[in-house]
Amino acid sequence: MSVAIKLRGCGKTWPGGTVALHPLDLDIAAGETLVLLGPSGCGKTTLLRLIAGLELPDAGGQVLFDGEDVTRLPIERRNVGMVFQSYALFPNMDVAGNIGYGLRVRGIPRAEVARRVDEMLEMTRLTEFARRRVDALSGGQRQRVALARAIAPRPRVLLLDEPLSALDARLREELRQEIDALLRSLGITAIYVTHDQAEAMALSDRICAMERGRIAQIGTGRDLYHRPANDFVAGFVGDTNRLGEELVRPEQLALHPSAEGEWTVQRATFLGPFVRVKLRDAAGRELMVDMPDLATPAPGARVEVRRRGPA
């Protein structure tokens, strides 16, 4: 059911001359969840819309679904599911009407549509809202309807463009886990756009980090975090210290109070799970260290810094 996707030489230049994407190649395995991660304006949505069939790549670009060239196939014939940040639910249909829409336009018999809609309602825990107007739902419920609507016709690939960005932090975490469970159980090829690195880490099989219309690095969350390809990736997926040539994450360091220590504590900020300590040395270099909230040194204290051993 789900497909492997290949992009070959896909670039996108807007009529005004803005280059949203430099020609790029991308391979997504069948059933994989790939997260497109990057700051606003780096071309994530454009790349997603090329795969969806909502935009045409510049001349020479190719989009392949399981080897079949779909570059010129319009979105209505690509069999892709889409989920938007703004939900984009049909206001003139109720919840069940929205979920069944993709089945109805395919001419599937009514009884079959009803059965499938019930199944979707149950899967997304929306059964009691089946006859609700969509504008009488909360943001989280709306996005679950959008999700159910997108997967009801069993698409070949699911495309999600910042689906959680309009929700508040608590709901975002809850729904993220639901989406994760859903993607795992369906085994569907999914491409998920976000600018939130925590979301990317939690959901992805692999992350494709993007920078100004180019792919900066593709790899697992661990790869990007521990072996970032460049400073941009390193900085985007977490805070970093530069020790000579090496990049070190703040939680990979440990402090030891010592009168001869070369570092002085500037500031210790309590962040809940840990305390972030900012240090400075005589040469004015700065260092961040994350540590448990146990024996936090006071500002002005002299400390030594060591790398934590492997846990």
């Binding site: 909502l54 049909f90 003139n92 829409y101 993709g102 997108a150």
Partner: protein
């Protein structure tokens, strides 16, 4: 209590104006018909026939105008191209034309010496003249109605969320399906409002029919004739009141129908 009193005091001037300039003349008009006027128009078939033709012309005008304005409006709302502004200005130019001028334009196009007539002759065919028929009248009314309807549709179409259309397409909807399930439902409040104005304007339109001296006896023309040529004030008043009543009834029915469908 004092809140209500204040609200009543605040609304009093509006009510006074409404009464003085709207209700009182309307009441006078209703009364001016007298028993005689109403008896005449209800017993002489040509008056009722004229009312029927008027409503038919208005309904056809509304249907054609909404069709054209929806297609053109959607196109103009979605596409940016050189000359778009000029085209829009050209399309909305007739807003400023009196009905009489629109009538002359129709004659220039489809009258005995009109463009269509000349071309059809030059091509060796029969002389085609339709300015004075139902087609000519409709052409004039539609021409007259398109600008304001078009502007309403464009404004509404620009507010539609393009993601809705993309979502429908991703689910497999054809362009026609998108129109039926997304665009028309989204535009329906605007289309209802614009259609109502179009219909009401067309039932009362006078200048175009007058200029065309059309073979179609629309009611405003009949009223004009009764009033100025026959000095038959009672019948003219009764007809006016009937026309207002009929238009109101049609619009109320249309609003009920579209409200039911949208709700």
């Amino acid at each position: 209590m004092s809140d209500r009193l204040r609200a009543a005091l605040l609304i009093a001037p509006a009510l006074a104006v409404f009464g003085a300039f709207f209700l009182i003349p309307l009441g006078q008009l209703a009364v001016a018909g007298g028993a005689g006027g109403y008896t005449t128009i209800l017993t002489e078939p040509r008056y009722l026939r004229s009312l029927g033709v008027t409503l038919l012309v208005a309904a056809l005008t509304t249907a054609i105008t909404l069709g054209i304005a929806t297609a053109v409006g959607l196109f103009l709302a979605r596409n940016r191209f050189p000359g778009r502004g000029t085209l829009l200005a050209l399309l909305t130019l007739p807003l400023a034309f009196p009905g009489v001028v629109v009538g002359y334009l129709v004659i220039m196009l489809a009258g005995r010496q009109g463009l269509v007539s000349e071309i059809s002759m030059a091509l060796g065919g029969e002389r085609i003249v339709f300015a004075y028929s139902l087609a000519g009248l409709l052409l004039g009314y539609v021409y007259f109605s398109i600008p304001r309807t078009l502007l309403t549709v464009i404004a509404a179409a620009e507010k539609l969320d393009p993601r809705l259309e993309e979502a429908a397409r991703s689910l497999g909807a054809s362009p026609l399906g998108v129109l039926r399930d997304v665009l028309l439902p989204g535009l329906s409040p605007a289309l209802t409002a614009a259609g109502a104005i179009c219909f009401a304007t067309a039932t009362g339109a006078f200048g175009t029919a007058f200029a065309l001296a059309s073979r179609i006896d629309v009611l405003p023309m009949v009223i004009y004739t009764e009033f100025t040529l026959q000095a038959n004030l009672a019948v003219a008043a009764a007809l006016s009141f009937l026309l207002g009543l009929a238009t109101w009834a049609v619009l109320a029915l249309a609003r009920g129908a579209s409200g039911g469908a949208a709700g």
